[in-house]
């Protein structure tokens, strides 16, 4: 298990390196720089600015400098928000974004899994069709459509919840968390239903039933665990979906998280901010996939043995 973890972790390093490299050179190809203004700056000032941020050096030197910075966990100064470092900006936005994402994930699992399992037990009955059609709506309505609709209904028409802004209090968290969670609930319910149906048809379930085991025991102790494996492998893409979704959700609900920085940073040509966010997201996705793989290997011994043989 430890060997497997180390191997998986080691394979993340080239990926991360590739990510940083591509992101660095991609954004530098961009026409226009971070200090472009409507009025041309005097050449001396421009030269000074460029010197301060090392923009006058050859690209390769800048790249090496950036790598060395990152190795020390320093993402550099912001080019747009003067006197702010990217580390400061991110550590300000991160708690907000993480709370939002984590809550959405928990809500999605807590609702999606039971609903999917329930639909599987009622396969091909009207209640199953009803649940799965609802899930399809959840998948088909993108969150940037869902968010304004929820605001229209709950904030404007009914006046129950605030339309935006952020504070660590339930009333302000409900709408953004629900918006992020809804498509995930739908996906998780569909996946759980599919795998549960497959598991319920397998021979070890028949054996358990033949032994005279109570149905409750069969479902909870034998069926649920293998049925959850596909859900766990969905968590990797789910993490990516949360990150992407947070860009939209934070923008619509005016939440001061990392996602809202990103688009603004890209538009401002704030090189270091965009790089910082892309790297952070890359690391998060890699870490999350890593944890998912570990969890998977722990739950499904076949994976471990396969890895051990090769």
């Amino acid at each position: 298990m430890i060997g497997y973890s180390l191997k998986r972790l080691a394979s993340a390093i080239p990926t991360l390196f590739l990510l940083i490299t591509v992101a660095f050179f991609l954004i530098r190809i961009a026409p226009g720089g971070p200090f472009d203004t409507e009025r041309a700056l005097p050449p001396e000032i421009e030269a000074n600015l460029a010197a301060k941020y090392h923009l006058d050096e050859p690209l390769v030197v800048q790249y090496a400098r950036y790598l060395w910075q990152i190795a020390r966990f320093d993402l550099g100064p912001s080019f747009h928000y003067l006197d702010w470092s990217i580390n400061d900006l991110i550590s300000q936005g991160a708690p907000v974004s993480f709370t939002l994402g984590l809550l959405a994930l928990i809500v999605a699992l807590l609702i999606g899994v039971p609903v999917g399992a329930w639909a599987a037990l009622r396969q091909n009955r009207p209640s199953d069709y009803a649940v799965m059609s609802t899930a399809m709506i959840g998948i088909s309505v993108p969150n940037f459509v869902m968010a304004p609709l929820l605001i229209l209904l709950f904030a404007i028409t009914l006046g129950w919840l605030p339309a935006g802004g952020w504070a660590f209090e339930p009333s302000r968290m409900v709408l953004p968390v629900v918006t992020l969670a809804l498509p995930m609930i739908a996906y998780i319910a569909r996946i759980t239903r599919g795998s549960m149906i497959e598991v319920l048809h397998s021979s070890f379930i028949r054996t358990a039933r033949a032994k005279g085991m109570p149905e409750r025991e069969v479902l909870l102790h034998h069926a649920l665990k293998p049925a959850l494996l596909p859900v766990i492998s969905y968590l990797g893409p789910a993490a990516a979906a949360i990150l992407t979704g947070s860009v939209v959700v934070e923008r619509i609900f005016t939440i001061p998280g990392i996602g809202s920085y990103f688009v603004q940073g890209a538009l401002n040509r704030d090189y270091t901010l965009v790089m910082g966010v892309v790297i952070l997201y890359g690391v998060l996705i890699i870490l999350f996939n890593f944890m998912v793989d570990l969890l998977y290997a722990w739950l499904d011994p076949r994976i471990r043995y396969d890895e051990g043989e090769t």
Binding site: L19, S133, P148, V277
Partner: protein, 301 residues
């Protein structure tokens, strides 16, 4: 005994005359039995017709404002059946023109990802071994990246032109296609029926034509139907952020963005494009699901 045996024999004889049904005829019949999928297909055909011919039926233009009607709700009296936006432009025409762009992006970008994905996956699967290993490692590597963010950066960098949207979205979507095609090719190569065909003296070309391609095609068709809504979603996501299609052109995502800003005063300008977008995605997903059930031999019960 003899009666029973004769009946069975006669039946067997009768059956010999029945034409064998091809994989696709078979799948088509299965698809027609799936009401949700048929409804999705019909809806998509209607949507396509509406989007192509709908704007011609209206006397309004998608760019020119109606100076007498700003932000008016849907009504027959003004002639704006979907209402107008804050600038007085007719929402019926704008929604349909936006639909043209959204559907076009969906189809073209899917085609781009299809071409890249199939060639990449087929090469990896066909050669196998080390080539396959390296090629798939590369796919795994870029798979782990926050791609949406690269697209955002790309859109910002290279300006927001529609061709780039096609390429950028197509370029991030080929990974899945490559994986699926590669896996399918790998497993098809070793299937018993391929070996049987070879044993019967079929040539390589016959095997590819009769066995590999038809089996690959099913997966590809299913995947295309499921990719188009994903691509439409990505395009509307970008347009929603203001990074996608630019004025005077529009798309469903851009319209939803405009509508969301006038949520309190003109909710119809959000609701109408939003329901067009959601309905289309809904129909594609149902059709894709139905096609998967109809074409995927594994799930056949």
């Amino acid at each position: 005994m003899s009666d029973l045996a004769r009946d069975a024999f006669d039946q067997a004889l009768d059956r010999r005359d029945i034409q064998g049904r091809s994989l696709y005829v078979d799948a088509w019949h299965r698809l027609l039995k799936n009401k949700a999928a048929v409804a999705g297909l019909v809806l998509l055909i209607l949507m396509a017709l509406l989007v192509i011919f709908g704007p011609m039926l209206s006397s309004w233009d998608h760019e020119i404002p109606d100076w007498d009607n700003y932000s008016t709700p849907p009504s027959l009296e003004t002639g704006h059946i979907f209402g107008t936006d804050a600038l007085g432009r007719d929402l019926y025409v704008r929604t349909l023109i936006g639909g043209r762009i959204s559907l076009l992006v969906g189809i073209v970008a899917t085609f781009v990802s299809l071409v890249i994905g199939i060639s990449y996956g087929a090469v990896a699967g066909y050669f196998g071994g080390r080539v396959d290993n390296i090629m798939m490692r590369f796919v795994d590597g870029i798979y782990a990246m926050p791609f949406m963010f690269f697209v955002i950066v790309l859109m910002v960098i290279f300006g927001r032109n529609i061709l780039l949207i096609f390429v950028a979205i197509g370029a991030i979507n080929w990974l899945d296609m490559a994986r699926i095609v590669r896996g399918q090719t790998l497993s098809l190569k070793t299937k018993g029926f391929v070996e049987a065909a070879r044993a019967c003296g079929a040539t390589e070309w016959q095997i590819i034509r009769r066995h590999i391609i038809p089996n690959l095609l099913g997966v590809v068709i299913v995947y295309v139907t499921l990719t188009i809504p994903q691509v439409i979603l990505v395009e509307s996501f970008l347009s929603f952020l203001g990074l996608g299609v630019q004025e005077p052109l529009t798309s469903w995502g851009a319209l939803v963005n405009e509508g969301a800003q006038e949520l309190e005063t003109a909710p119809w300008s959000l609701l109408i494009p939003a329901s067009f977008l959601a309905l289309t995605l809904f129909a594609f997903n149902f059709l894709g699901d139905g096609l998967r059930d109809a074409l995927d031999p594994k799930d056949r019960s």
